[in-house]
């Protein structure tokens, strides 16, 4: 693999992208930028519109409105598409009767890539041994690796991977993380989608979070780890809620306690004492990443979008 200088990389630009499939609004007015030299996580729950967004970037799906560019150009305008953007979308884009080597050769031929590169990428992803087996007999993890081999064929500046760790074993996941980071360290642009924050948490430097086709957060992971909550409870929850609210806190009930934000534990205790409410619990907690993520994408226990968190309220306003 070539080494390259950081700074000469390729930026991905998504501008006001929208896509409707009939009445289904898959992506709504989505804008964000993906910078070279780092791994960007593209997060959202199932059906959030990740795959659709990536397919619009790659010219496979026509946006209803808006545009997505690679270094300022649309995918269809790229002179050497595979040498510019490497893509692994789903673990199912294979003819089951073709061997992995032939699968890659078919597309290497189309892109004018030397057959020797096929053997090289098969080696990189650890499939050399199985290269002449028909893909129909591959395990999910092996297909995922073959998808990555396809992405690497043109030694591209940009890698776009849709849930690349699906079906990989723990060792494979660890290898993938290190691999993506080394690619980014070479100055490449790496965009990785996932529906699990935990899965990319150790890998990504930057995240874009979408929910129901809309952007709800774009920034560093550190920026996500916001604030603290007070976990507080009493046998008289109604009275406690009143007391905390009048002290300026936002209160949210959970199964085993109330969660109060915008207030410190000391202030919460004082407010309860002043209102004469006996407390059974008072703890300060830092909000975990996963919880912030879930709040942002608005998935409540009942599965409907909450629509009340600040982020969602802001973008849908």
């Amino acid at each position: 693999m070539r080494t390259r200088t950081i700074g000469s990389g390729t930026t991905l630009q998504f501008t006001n992208l929208s896509k409707s499939f009939g009445t289904v609004r898959a992506v709504s007015d989505l804008s964000f930028t993906v910078e070279p030299g780092r791994v960007t996580g593209f997060l959202g729950p199932n059906g959030a519109g990740k795959t659709t967004t990536l397919r619009m970037l790659l010219g496979l799906v026509n946006p209803t409105s808006g545009v997505a560019t690679i270094g300022g150009r649309r995918y269809s305008e790229l002179e050497k598409p595979l040498a510019t953007v490497g893509t692994a979308l789903e673990a199912s884009d294979f003819h089951p009767g073709r061997s992995a080597r032939n699968h890659l050769r078919v597309y290497a031929a189309a892109a004018g890539i030397a057959p020797a590169r096929v053997d090289e990428v098969l080696g990189i992803v650890g499939l050399a041994e199985y290269a002449d087996r028909r893909v129909g007999g591959y395990s999910l993890g092996m297909r995922q690796r073959l998808g990555l081999a396809f992405a690497l064929l043109g030694d591209p500046d940009v890698l776009v991977l849709d849930e690349p760790t699906n079906g990989l074993d723990p060792e494979g996941i660890r290898w993938m993380r290190g691999f993506l980071q080394s690619l980014a360290a070479e100055g490449r642009t790496v965009l990785v989608s996932s529906h699990l924050l935990a899965e990319v948490q150790q890998t990504v430097d930057w995240v874009v979070i979408i929910s129901r086709g809309r952007s709800v957060y774009e920034g560093s992971l550190d920026g996500l780890e916001t604030g603290q909550v007070v976990r507080i409870d009493s046998s008289d929850r109604a009275a406690l809620t009143n007391a905390l609210s009048s002290a300026g806190a936002q209160v949210r009930p959970t199964d085993d306690a109330l969660l109060a934000t915008g207030i410190t534990a000391g202030e919460a205790g004082a407010a309860a004492l002043a209102a004469g409410v006996p407390l059974s619990l008072l703890i300060t907690e830092s909000v975990g990443l996963e919880e912030v993520f879930l709040q942002l994408v608005g998935s409540d226990a009942d599965g409907t979008a909450a629509g009340t968190t600040e982020g969602i309220a802001r973008v849908s306003a």
Partner: protein, 272 residues
């Protein structure tokens, strides 16, 4: 374009379908041609003495038998062409295909070109069967297989062209009916039932025959210049036939129209 051509060529030769269909064609045509040569070769005298039987001078036999490649075998290059498209939809290989060649029209053009060549090769495979097996049996029956005649080799050339055009039509059919099973069912139903019935029906009156000669199978037989269907019909019904080059143009036009229609519909759709 060169890359796209190479890619389509590799797609065709790296799965078994190509070999399976070649063997099927060889077996099907070889069997039919052998059977016809055997029946007409040994029964020729009896047929000639019976006034109600189809009249076939021995000279008409070799072209009739050699042309079984397209007369009965055209469905095989047609299916090859259709499958070359439907399998891309079925296995979602359009995704990597369009990633490697984002200009979809070029991909379709390359596919049409490669399938035309593949269809021509199928024509040759079929001719090896019909001329090899059918011709040998004729020779054994004491009938001149006419392998030295220029007309025979002209017919062989036109068989190759017809077979190439059928594969192109297949690409068009597959582009319009992208569901693999539906596509094959439609092809088989049309080739085995609909078209033969229409051709038979069309031969009842002169004005229907004038329309019927434009049916793709009839056009194909006209292009090749001989067919078991037209030969057996002679004298009993009002079969009409196009000139050979007109037949070729009908097939070519059909292929182009179908491929264009496919391009404007399924090929431009979102790939999800």
């Amino acid at each position: 374009m060169i890359g796209a051509l190479r890619s389509e060529f590799r797609k065709l030769t790296t799965v078994r379908l190509w070999w399976v269909l070649s063997l099927t064609l060889f077996g099907y045509v070889g069997f039919t041609a052998g059977l016809l040569a055997g029946v007409f070769g040994s029964l020729g005298d009896q047929l000639a003495s019976s006034p109600n039987a189809p009249q076939l001078p021995p000279d008409a036999l070799p072209p009739l038998i050699y042309s079984t490649v397209t007369a009965v075998g055209y469905v095989i290059p047609l299916i090859l062409g259709a499958l070359s498209v439907t399998s891309e939809f079925r296995y979602q290989t359009l995704t990597p295909t369009f990633l490697a060649s984002p200009r979809r029209g070029i991909v379709l053009g390359a596919k049409v070109t490669v399938l035309a060549v593949a269809g021509a090769v199928f024509g040759i495979v079929g001719l090896v069967a019909s001329m090899g097996i059918g011709g040998s049996i004729l020779a054994v029956s004491g009938i001149d297989p006419q392998l030295g005649s220029a007309d025979t080799w002209l017919l062989a050339g036109r068989v190759v062209i017809a077979s190439a055009l059928w594969a192109v039509i297949g690409v068009g059919v597959g582009s319009l009916i992208t569901n693999q099973v539906a596509s094959i069912v439609v092809v088989l139903a049309f080739a085995q039932f609909v078209e033969p019935i229409l051709r038979l029906g069309a031969s009842i009156w002169d004005w229907t025959a004038a329309v019927g000669k434009f049916l793709p199978g009839a056009a194909s037989d006209a292009l090749v210049g001989s067919s078991i269907f037209t030969s057996l019909g002679t004298g009993t019904t009002s079969v009409q036939s196009l000139e050979w080059w007109q037949g070729g143009l009908v097939l070519l036009g059909l292929g182009v129209v179908l491929a264009l229609a496919g391009f404007l519909t399924s090929w431009r759709k979102d790939v999800t």
